[in-house]
């Protein structure tokens, strides 16, 4: 094919040294584009060299052939845009910094917006703790903090007025509903609503994050990555803040000043919500923590979780009458399935979709199947229990979540097995992971809004 003309070996300096230098320079330019990986450059270099050879065979000299070949390759901007559309995960590492180098004023303005919203979130929680009782604050905590996070993301994405409206409605509806419902002060529907409301609102945060384009699989996966990164950054901030506070308290106590009352009354209510906004800003500014950590964590914890699941399975299977097992079992099972799901989701999000199948992919399927086996045992036990003692709000919420997790994991296992056997591309598994996520938000909304009246607010 391309061997009709004299071969030019890339490494040998010879009559075509100038051409080699030009190709090297071209490689350098292309390589600087985030969306184009090293192996893509290899692929295109092979192409470029063949084109140059063919052009030289028609009588052009090195320089002319190179210029024409590069021109035919297309402009780098167009190319990198095409690659970016196909490989959006590569842009993830420096998404924000792209195209914003000239906008230094915008990054200062962004810092001001972030600090303003962080302080506002802190003040909102502080005021709420000052005027409301503890349970009401707990019920409203998502409504107090997440609007500010949503506002930051909406500002950052410069969303349209229609999307601003779509973002505001859930906050208003949940705010009214939760505070109008006549909850029993110690009722379980109150606790469930307090737990479910932030999950629902997190979907609203996601809507702001994706700039309203929630139908896009890639954008939803980006939001899943964002959530993971946010957790990592928030933990780091909390650890750092804890160390600072501990040292300060230590020095203060030597001077007989007790930091504790200030800590509870001022520092924690102000800083804990504010840190969430700051963490979101950090993720936006530099998004590659989980990118680097998630594959490591999932590789460490996938085998360990498998061992744990096997142990749980043995204990459950030999426990005798499972109907007598503590009622917490269902909630624990949900926690285990959520853990397995997170392992799956984050390893899927960090995996190169084009990488060949590996041993680890097989291990992951085994993990999901083991989780399903354990869940089947626990679920049978719980269903007999519900049949015997009737439905409570807790059981219904946990059972619903369990069924959702079951559907999610079963189909994941099917798709992952099909991928291992070469029947389906990896992209199907990725798409399924993110397509199912809105269902959880919907279930949380049902638990928060529909459960209390159905179960009489107890």
């Amino acid at each position: 094919m391309g061997a009709a003309t004299a071969p030019t070996d890339g490494a040998s300096p010879g009559p075509h040294a100038a051409l080699e230098a030009q190709i090297d320079q071209w490689r350098g330019y292309v390589r600087r584009r985030e969306a184009i990986s090293a192996s893509d450059v290899d692929e295109m270099e092979d192409h470029l060299r063949e084109r140059v050879e063919d052009l030289r065979a028609t009588g052009l000299d090195d320089d002319e052939a190179f210029l024409v070949a590069v021109k035919r390759m297309g402009t780098l901007d167009d190319l990198s845009r095409e690659f970016a559309q196909e490989h959006s995960e590569r842009l993830w590492k420096q998404l924000v910094l792209v195209g914003e180098q000239p906008g230094r004023t915008r990054s200062w303005r962004e810092l001001a917006v972030v600090l303003g919203l962080a302080v506002a979130a802190g003040v909102a929680v502080k005021v709420a703790t000052a005027v409301l009782d503890e349970m009401t604050v707990a019920l409203n905590v998502g409504l107090l903090v997440l609007p500010f996070l949503t506002a930051y993301l909406a500002w950052k994405r410069q969303v349209t007025a229609r999307i601003v409206g779509a973002l505001a409605v859930p906050f208003v509806v949940l705010g009214v509903v939760l505070n109008v419902y006549p909850f029993e002060p110690t009722g379980s529907t109150l606790v469930l609503a307090a737990l479910a409301a932030p999950v629902t609102l997190w979907a609203v945060v996601g809507l702001a994050y994706v700039g309203g384009r929630w139908r896009s699989d890639a954008r939803r996966m980006d939001f899943a990555r964002f959530t993971g990164e946010l957790a990592v950054y928030y933990t780091l901030l909390a650890l750092g803040g804890g160390v600072l506070l501990g040292l300060t308290a230590g020095v203060f106590s030597l001077a007989d000043v007790d930091l504790e009352p200030y800590l509870e009354d001022w520092i924690l209510p102000l800083c804990v919500p504010a840190a969430l906004i700051v963490a979101a800003w950090l993720v936006e500014a530099k998004q590659n923590v989980v990118e680097n950590i998630a594959p490591v964590l999932t590789r460490v914890f996938t085998p360990l979780t498998l061992v744990m699941l096997l142990a749980v399975f043995v204990v459950l299977a030999t426990a005798g009458n499972l109907a007598a097992v503590d009622r917490e079992l269902l909630i624990l099972m949900d926690a285990i399935l959520v853990l397995v799901l997170c392992l799956l989701l984050y390893s899927v999000s960090a995996r190169d979709p084009l990488a060949p199948r590996s041993f680890f992919d097989g291990l992951q399927v085994v993990l999901v199947v083991a989780a399903l086996a354990v869940d089947a045992v626990a679920l049978t036990a719980m269903l007999t229990r519900i049949a015997e003692f009737g439905v409570s709000p807790n059981k219904a919420a946990a059972l619903g979540l369990n069924l959702l997790l079951l559907v999610h994991l079963v189909w994941s296992a099917v798709l992952a097995t099909a991928f291992l056997r070469g029947r389906r591309p990896f992209a199907d598994l990725v798409a399924w992971q993110t397509r199912f996520l809105p269902v959880y938000a919907a279930w949380a909304a049902i638990v928060a809004v529909v459960f209390p009246p159905v179960f009489g607010f107890v």
């Binding site: 061997a3 893509d40 290899d42 295109m44 063949e50 167009d78 190319l79 690659f83 084009l354």
Partner: protein, 124 residues
């Protein structure tokens, strides 16, 4: 004659899959084949072929493997998969429909050119 950009984009997938259905190939050879098939009238921007090939790979229509060229360079080869063949058959059916419709519309248009438009009679 320059072929319209949108038309090139729309026909790119079936064309590439069709070429690969003939046997494994690589980027530059695929482009040369397109050139041959269209008598040099379908000009692609060379680089744009690669994101397209990667998309076909992600969709599971082609499988890629790294090999070496005759002169020892790294070269990525693409082969069509059974799913790709299915997609090709489907695209082919779609294009047949489009081609058939176009063919008909042109024939009536040509008839219209030969005989005076019917609307004119009504106005007389």
């Amino acid at each position: 004659m320059r072929i319209d950009k949108d038309l090139v984009a729309a026909s790119a997938t079936p064309l590439v899959l069709g070429i690969l259905a003939d046997g494994e190939s690589y980027g530059y050879a695929i482009l040369k084949r397109v050139d041959e098939l269209s008598g040099g009238r379908m000009q692609w921007t060379d680089g744009m072929l690669y994101p397209l090939l990667h998309r076909l790979e992600r969709l599971g229509f082609v499988e890629a493997s790294w090999g070496t060229s005759d002169v020892g360079r790294r070269r990525k080869h693409y082969a069509i998969t059974p799913a790709g063949r299915e997609a090709l058959v489907e695209r082919q059916a779609q294009w047949d429909v489009v081609a058939h419709a176009l063919h008909q519309v042109w024939r009536t248009a040509q008839d219209g050119l030969l005989t005076p438009p019917r609307v004119a009679e009504g106005w007389a």
